[in-house]
């Protein structure tokens, strides 16, 4: 089921917006709902929005920070590795007084979540990794994101390219072009020269001591599903939920994916 809507700027109606100064970097945090907290780390672009979080918010408080260099958060060129993002989030979570919580991430956000879990498992209750990047899988390499042509992007993002297209603005939108250039630049600071991810991630994934759900679109062309078994083998306590008919933007493409994650977090 397609829950995407024709939006230039994702609708954040009903979300609470707060700004934090995290060691000098403006960090915008959206949240919705009440209950035990679940933090969601977005992927390499903010344009898909966070509609799915409304479903999770029925019984949870969903906390969605924008990464430095993305969306409404400020820029910090010194943040140029996933580890820097982990440290940034340690600072933010301290400010938010989050002691123990659930962590979910999509794509690049899942990479950050995985590295956070490697180092700080004890602060987490559960982990959701949706279409994660970051693990170098020699046998099943992912396409180099930076080399994808703009025109081909929709078919890499969603199984039905129309779904991705519906998330892009119509026509020539300078604001959108500048935002996506800025976000791609921020991403390039981390992985321009290592688009496959962190070569050492596999060495340390055994340290993720919390129950983990992998949510994966059957037709994900960004992170091919063939790579899922490598994550399954390396994570000590994991379950793979394949989403039939979906691509990389699982939560925008499939209510089943949103539900699967919600149920897992509710258990």
């Amino acid at each position: 089921m397609n829950i995407a809507q024709k939006i230039t700027k994702p609708s954040m109606e009903g979300f609470e917006r707060a700004e934090y100064d995290v060691a000098g970097t403006k960090t915008v945090v959206y949240s919705i709902g009440s209950g035990d907290p679940v933090v969601f780390l977005h992927g390499g672009a903010t344009f898909p929005g966070f509609e799915f979080a409304r479903s999770w918010a029925t019984d949870r408080k969903v906390i969605i920070p924008h990464h430095p260099g993305f969306g409404e958060s400020g820029d910090d060129e010194k943040i140029n590795s996933v580890h820097d993002y982990v440290l940034h989030y340690l600072d933010l979570f301290d400010q938010l007084k989050l002691e123990r919580f659930d962590l979910a991430g999509h794509s690049f956000g899942a990479w950050i979540a995985a590295e956070f879990a490697i180092e700080h498992s004890y602060r987490l209750r559960k982990l959701v990794l949706a279409g994660p990047t970051g693990l170098v899988i020699k046998e099943h390499p992912a396409p180099d994101f930076f080399k994808l042509r703009a025109a081909d992007l929709p078919q890499y993002l969603t199984a039905d390219p129309e779904v991705a297209l519906s998330l892009f603005p119509e026509g020539h939108d300078v604001d959108f072009l500048v935002l996506s250039y800025r976000e791609t630049t921020s991403l390039s600071r981390v992985c321009w020269d290592k688009p496959q991810g962190n070569r050492k991630l596999g060495r340390w994934l055994h340290r993720v001591k919390v129950p983990t759900l992998l949510v994966w679109g059957e037709h994900d062309r960004f992170c091919p599903i063939a790579g899922a078994s490598a994550w399954e083998e390396l994570l000590p306590d994991t379950k793979l939920q394949v989403i039939p008919g979906a691509g990389h933007l699982v939560f925008e493409e499939s209510q089943a994916a949103v539900e699967a994650a919600r149920r897992f977090l509710a258990e």
């Binding site: 060129e77 930076f146 250039y181 390039s188 600071r189 321009w192």
Partner: protein
Amino acid sequence: MPILPSTEFLVAHYMPYTELPPEEASRESLWVDIPNSLFDPRKGHALYGRYFHEAVLAEKLGFDGICINEHHATASSMMPVPSLIAATIFAQTSKLKVCVMGTPPNMDSPNRLAETYAMLDVMSGGRLEIAIPLGTPMEYWVNPVAPATARKRHREAIDIILKAWTSREATSHDGEFFHYKYLNVWPRPYQDPHPPIFIVGSGSLETVDLAVEYGFGYASTFSPIAKQLQALDYFRKKTTAAGRTVQPNMFPLTVMTYVAETDEQALAEFEAHAKYYFDFLLRPGEFANLPGYIALDELRKRGGHVLPKSHGKFDWNDLQDFYRVAVGSVETVTNKIEKWAEEVGSSRIIFEAHTGDMPHWKLAKNMTLLAEKVVPELKRRRDISQVPAEAAE
């Protein structure tokens, strides 16, 4: 006002590979991923021979220098390593200067680049000039440098080169991107303290600032006249604010030039080659869209495009109206050059004499008319205007 005393005249030659099959005209990009199966090494060999011959001709015709460039994975330039081209030209000439414009220093080992240029300067007896570019977005797809740090790396690399050239004893460098336990250039440059240096820019003020900060010249790329004049104005103001003066040789005037018997004939002989150059050889496709290459406010100014939309598109009227293009009779070209040299106050005039797939005979004709008609006429007008001034003294 006539041209300035001690004006120097140079030609620029970008040595393109001009033997692409015509059916490739439909390619989206002529850079980065263009298969090298399209490069015929035998034809390339012949072209190198021809181009070196043309460099020698430039010296014989009395030009002061030749400017060469560097681009990667493209048919628009057969000079991914321009220092090799400079070495070859130096070996075949005795007076001609070579301005290498140039290797992006952040893409090389800066110390090795300092060594390469120092060698060229010594081998040529001080005939080397360099212009330092950041490189087009396209270069970053084929070089292992993250574009988001390109400018910082660029600056550090320049510092290393200067340090290596100006220190008379072994020194060292410990920076963000490069670490040298010892920095010690042997041979050191022939010119003292080093060859003339220009920063290459397309008008972005950030780049002008860099030139001012180091006290280098500023060499405009092929960019609209208005943008060049803005850059010049800013360059003058900032240089004055730094307590220095812009010397006439610090802001070269670069003009795409073709001279023939009449304006009509010049245009008829030239236009197809300009079209080949702008429409075909410069077409970057999606590779112009490089993350991290330009500042966001600059991107916004450019309407969300990293390179101006004109890059890779030919529009003859636009070129004639807004760019430094002088195509016409001796009279037409002389008048334009004289006017522009005054406008810029430059004593360094660079003729882009070879364009696109221009054949040898046209280049030879163009350079000969420039050397034997246009330049002497510019000098004659200067000499005439100086006589009364001297007589009056």
